[in-house]
Amino acid sequence: MTLKSLSQVDRRLFLRGAGIALALPAFETFGKVSFATAKSGASDEKRAPPKRLACFYMPDGVPMPLQEDPAFQDWSWFPHGEGKDYQLTKCLEPLGAVSENLTVLSGLSHPAARSIHGHSNADQFLTGAATGGHGDYQNSISLDQRYAQFIGDETRIASMVLSTDGGTGTPRGTHTMSFDRSGRAIPAEHKPKRIFDMLFVKQGEDAARRLAVSKSALDDLMEDANNLRRSLSKPDQAKLEEYLQALRDTELKVAKAKRWMDLPIPEANVDHLNLDVTPEDPRNYLQTMFELIYMAFKTDTTRVATYQIGRENGVGVSDYMARAIGFNLTHQLSHQTKEPEGWKNFGSYNRFLAEELCRFAKKLKATPEENQEGNMLDHTLLLFGSASSAFHLSRNYPLVLIGGNRLGFEHNQYLKCGIYPEGGQPAGGAWKGGREPWQKEMNHQERPLGDLFLTMLNRLGVETQSFAGSQAPLDSV
């Protein structure tokens, strides 16, 4: 793939008519208003380096054979050892190629969902909300959207939300990782062609129109407010000042959104990509999705992305992902670990995901950060993981952090955040009937995943004290 003339155009452009997945920088979504970058189109060098975040979700958990199992050595997902002294197993081995940018974590989970069946927990992976086990629920804002609130108006698109299954899915059967400030699911885009169009094809008369209307309406409201002001007493004028300030803030946001519109969209060549690829060709599909995120980051079209590689519960088209390595249905692999070669089969699938993730990370690492020190991976934080670990168990999330070395992340380590009575490794084993692991009491301690999220947000520049049920920042990453 080649990107033409990227250096000649300002890379941050406004997108019109973004589809369902790409949230427009609608002015109501941002708390922060600054014109610093808007005016500085010519002086790229002086800009602070961009900070990016991408989050990936894999369903179905990971292999966790018992220590005495012969498969333990090779196919336990979590590394052996601890801290700087750790060895990746075959599941994550490919990521060894970026070990200087890699941290594996265990012992983290969201407290509200620890006793809920793993099938039901993808919805809360980035939010930490108590989404429960049945009925309707109330979710909360996801990690990526929290960051997009902060950084979204610095780029043409606030964030991109992708998944293999597309749309929102249903409660506890989510097809998206991203939830807005009201906890509503943001529909994910799943067709590469549409994603490309939204990123690089000029369209969206609608958004332009919408902004023009907003501008006129704001002018009109300003006139109303000023007229009203004149007829008010002093104390009432002070109260109306809040309204006037709200109008002024909104005007700034509209102006900021509008500037993207006057700038051309970067051209991108995708001759080598098949944009009509579907999840039924899983490897190519996965590579295409990663490639599109890379292109969006490279052109600074957005700095925030989520991609749900598959939904939970073994339904939907994403369950075909295992066909990439010759199996039929992905979810079944997690159920068949007691069969001969079961751990190996399941682990091989995990290895496949690690390979593709690594390909993406290496590509970012090979791309120098424009006008900045270091490469793109140094400024991009990747979170990869699942809300279940051992069979349907929503504890001890398998998590990988990659990149962001220049954001302050200490890498090349395996961090055990849980405290186990026997001091050992979290283990699962194959399920052989009876009460499932998720139904059992937890006999060890884990740290809220919110702690890691809080640290991630802080290092991305978001000054917040808490997120997703955090108690204290996780400083050891």
């Binding site: 009925g135 129109r209 409201l221 007229n227 104390p235 909104t250």
Partner: protein, 913 residues
């Protein structure tokens, strides 16, 4: 400088609740109004100085009401206006000469220069109440001294005569100071609409009773519990943008552009309902026939047996063949959407008849799956041909409707959508049609897969109705046939016609001008000025090229009108007097309908007629009689009593097996229905303290042990004394919300009573005092009284708790869900306590007795204060004190009717600005 007329001071009451000091107090008060100091000795002739406080109060609580009312201190004061030549001055000299020595003697031991027991020093308080900074302290001193709570028992005793002297001086000074300060301060409560007001206003403007404000964040609740407090209602860019977005969304729901969408129909008959059991039954009969081919008697015996076997009733919903009595359990699964009913091109002309019916037993639910064709706009009309199943059962079955979906094994959700229960009164075998019409846009839960998923695949895109027999009396419903249609009754819709009363002409600008002028009048509660109108017309012209039609353009301008401060902000206190009537109209509508003034009210404001007292009274009565006054009942009751606490209450069924959502729902409604009844009957506000009737439905009656109440609607019931109910204090929901869901909570109940009903909130706990940790096993083990005493023994806690706990202990006969109990864990309930001023309280009866005997005036005044706070949209200030007292006095004279309270308030200077 002050104008003379403004010193027309109405003197009518005081805070003192001690009747013995009344006569002296009055003498002093009335005299003191004249600013001439020598007038203080003038005799006041017409005050009945004698209250026979010795006369025994009646035993019966109902009889205690008139007894207490006749002894109201408010009644003894003539409403009088005294004109004075010069503005009043603070009587600091009098203070120095007569009051200060008494106060110092009584208080300085603890509140003097040396000791710092309290938080102030008595000698350092500024006695100038007109301009001095210590009014808040003086108010507290007045309360404590007049309620005999200070000085404490172990201190220097205060003679009654001395006490009266202090109270006299203080009440008078406070009264006058309130008036003086009121004239000096602005009275504005300029604020934006609350969330619920914005919603109701849109509903009234657009003629649709939808919920338009799902996305708006909740409003802040002020210390007193009100949501409409001007000082806490903020505006931000986020909020403003939401208003615009929601207004536009609401307008789009209201308009119906384009061609009429094609209707969708479902015709659901039970005819195939028992095929399975019929086949099995017939096979079994054939088998029996073969077996008993030669023995007719045996065969008929076997036949009877089989008939019985296949005709049993079931716990859940089931089909029944009317002729043969054969039944079949109704089963349902989301898998493959196999149970979804297909749509039909049109509905059958005649209702299909069938021998098979479905039976829906009480408290059972029946899923009727509709597939993925339920549209997102228009109404879903559900017609149900149904009757009672048996004529003997005492109650009628009642149907409620849920709408929802199940997409996979772990993903399902549904919510109640029926605005009312359908009470099935048709006798068994004589079914009638019952019907709901529900806008599809208002279904809170839809299947997100409905447009993208494939029928038959998982996750399933299908949606369903869930019929629920909500009756708790015996009585299954028999359902013959269901017809569902999704369509528009008329097109364009009536609400569209309301937005665009006339069609577009060639002269689009004049079309716009005409519509905008009308729209602004109803949204801004006044006609647009010429300039404003032209401004909007020019916005229309500017936007016109962006949109396809003039109507769509107009919609955008409407959205702007609805985000204008002229719409969003209420009660602009304009210095120009011609705005007064508009202001009163807005305030009145906001108060009683929580919405905008309607056309008639705007008209009367425009003509100025509304400024006439009799017109204002007529309009107030009209608004109260209108069904929209239900919003006042709901909002005021919920805010006044702090009922969010009930929303948040969680009760474990392990602790209370009979707890269910319907009980909670009924608990939520009871106080509102009760206030509504008091309001509509203009009954005495004292009924809130105690009444011999209640507003209840079937679920609550079961909770209270009242037999033979059928149906979920609320109705008035006389209640015998032995049930220990009546008034607000004994309503289950209010008792439950002041518990922790497991145990009663005397402290919460005491604080609630003091702050919500008596308007005498205790101070917040000092920061150094830790909260009682109920998780601490040592504390958890103690009995309640022990626990309170333990806490009270801490000197830091004592002074506050001694004033709170005794009130709460009186509620102890009611458990955490408000059920009556005489024993706790085997031990007799001890609900006796002693108030801080030494009065003993014997349980709830004792508490009510004390309130009706001694605190009627305080309660009535509190009621007026709460109504006024809600009506004005701001907390009351010291400056409002005189006016509140005047209203309370007049209300007592008129017999304490709730409607009268509102009428008096509306006519007061306080309300009219």
């Amino acid at each position: 400088m002050f104008e003379q007329e403004r010193f027309a001071v109405r003197v009518s009451s005081f805070l003192c609740s001690n009747p013995t000091s009344l006569a002296l107090l009055l003498t002093c008060l009335l005299a003191s109004v004249a600013t001439n100091a020598s007038a203080q000795n003038a005799a006041v002739a017409n005050v009945a100085a004698s209250i026979d406080s010795k006369e025994e109060p009646p035993h019966d609580l109902q009889a205690l009401k008139p007894w207490g009312a006749a002894r109201s201190r408010f009644l003894k004061v003539e409403d009088r206006t005294i004109h004075t030549g010069t503005p009043p001055e603070p009587r600091v000299d009098l203070f120095r000469k007569e009051i200060a020595p008494v106060l110092n003697k009584a208080c300085a031991d603890c509140h003097g220069v040396d000791d710092e027991d309290g938080r102030f020093r008595i000698g350092e308080l500024n006695p100038d109440l007109f301009a001095g900074p210590d009014v808040a302290w003086w108010l507290e001193i007045l309360d404590l001294i007049s309620n005999k709570e200070m000085p404490p028992d172990d201190g220097e005793p205060l003679e009654d005569e001395q006490r009266t002297k202090i109270v006299d001086w203080l009440s008078t000074e406070l009264q006058l100071a309130s008036q003086v300060r009121r004239d000096a301060a602005g009275q504005s409560a300029f604020r934006r609409m609350t969330r619920y007001e914005f919603n109701y206003a849109l509903q009234d403007l657009l003629g649709l009773s939808y919920n338009f404000v799902h996305d708006l964040p909740p409003d802040p609740i002020n210390e007193e519990g009100f949501h409409n407090d001007a000082s806490s209602l903020q505006m931000s860019a986020t909020q403003l943008e939401l208003y615009r977005k929601l207004a536009r969304k609401a307008l789009l729901k209201t308009a119906s552009f384009g061609p009429q969408p094609a209707p969708v129909f479902w015709s659901i008959s039970m005819s195939k309902g028992v095929e399975q059991s019929k086949a099995k039954y017939e096979a079994d009969v054939a088998k029996a026939q073969r077996k008993h081919a030669d023995d007719a008697e045996e065969f008929s015996k076997a036949l009877e047996k089989l008939k019985k076997k296949y005709s049993s009733s079931h716990r859940g919903p089931y089909f029944r063949h009317l002729e043969t009595g054969l039944t079949d359990r109704i089963s349902w699964s989301y898998r493959g959407a196999k149970h979804a009913w297909a749509t039909t091109g049109k509905l059958p002309e005649e209702t299909p008849s069938s021998d098979v019916v479905s039976i829906l037993p009480v408290q059972q639910k029946w899923i009727v799956e509709l597939g993925n064709r339920v549209p997102d706009r228009g109404d879903l009309k559900i017609r149900i041909l149904a009757s009672r199943d048996e004529d003997e059962s005492p109650g009628n079955p009642s149907l409620r409707l849920e709408f929802g979906f199940q997409a996979s094994n772990n993903s399902s959700a549904s919510a109640f959508v029926s605005p009312n229960d359908l009470v099935i009164e048709a006798p068994a075998g004589k079914p009638q049609f019952y019907e709901w019409r529900i806008p599809t846009s208002e279904m809170p839960i839809r299947n997100p897969m409905r447009r993208t998923g494939q029928m038959g695949k998982t996750p399933s895109p299908s949606e369903y109705l869930k019929l629920y027999n909500s009756s708790i009396s015996n009585g299954a419903a028999r359902i013959y046939y269901i017809e569902v249609s999704a369509d528009y009754a008329t097109w364009p819709t009536p609400s569209h016609r309301k937005l665009f009363p006339s069609f577009v002409t060639n002269d689009e600008s004049s079309f716009a001008r005409q519509h905008l002028s009308r729209f602004i009048r109803s949204t801004w509660r006044r006609p647009a000025t010429k300039m404003e109108l032209e401004q909007k017309v020019s916005l229309f012209e500017r936007l016109r090229p962006v949109f396809n039609t003039a109507e769509e353009t107009l919609l955008e301008v409407y959205a702007t009108i609805l985000s204008s401060p002229n719409f969003l902000y209420l009660a602009a206190g304009s210095p120009k007097s011609q705005h007064d009537a508009t202001l009163i109209a807005t305030r009145l509508a906001t108060f009683l309908h929580c919405s905008l003034p309607d056309e008639q009210l705007i008209g009367l404001a425009q003509s100025g007629e509304l400024l006439k007292p009799q017109v204002l009274e007529q309009e107030t009565r009209r608004l109260l009689a209108d069904s929209r006054s239900r919003r006042f009942a709901e909002q005021f009751t919920r805010q006044w009593l702090g009922m969010e606490m009930l929303d948040y209450l969680e009760v474990n069924r392990k602790d209370f097996p009979h707890w269910d959502p319907f009980l909670k729902e009924a608990m939520r409604e009871e106080p509102i229905a009760f206030l509504q009844e008091v309001l509509q009957q203009n009954a005495s506000v004292l009924d809130f303290l105690h009444a011999d009737y209640a507003m209840i439905n079937d679920r609550l009656s079961r909770h209270y042990g009242i037999p033979e109440v059928h149906g979920s609607h609320f109705r008035r019931m006389e209640i015998p004394e032995r049930l220990q109910r009546g008034g607000l204090l004994t309503q289950a929901g209010l008792l439950a919300m002041n518990s922790d869901g497991v145990h009663s909570h005397p402290l919460k109940r005491g604080i609630w009573l003091l702050s919500r009903l008596l308007d005498d909130p205790p101070p917040p706990p000092p920061p150094s005092v830790p909260e009682i940790d109920l998780a601490d096993p040592g504390i958890a083990k103690m009995t309640l009284k022990e626990r309170l005493e333990d806490h009270r023994n801490d000197p830091a806690c004592y002074s506050c708790h001694a004033k709170i706990d005794p009130w709460g202990v009186a509620f102890e006969n009611y458990d955490a869900v408000g059920s009556w109990r005489s024993r706790i864990k085997g031990a007799e309930v001890d609900a006796s306590s002693k108030l801080f001023n030494g009065e003993p309280l014997e349980g709830m009866q004792g508490l009510k007795r004390y309130l009706l005997q001694r605190r009627q005036d305080q309660f009535v005044r509190a009621m007026v204060s709460k109504l006024a706070t809600f009506a004005l949209g701001r907390p009351l200030r010291f400056e409002d004190r005189a006016e509140i007292d005047a209203i309370a006095a007049e209300l007592r004279r008129k017999g304490d009717g709730l409607q009268d309270a509102i009428l008096l308030l509306v006519q007061s200077d306080l309300f009219r600005g």
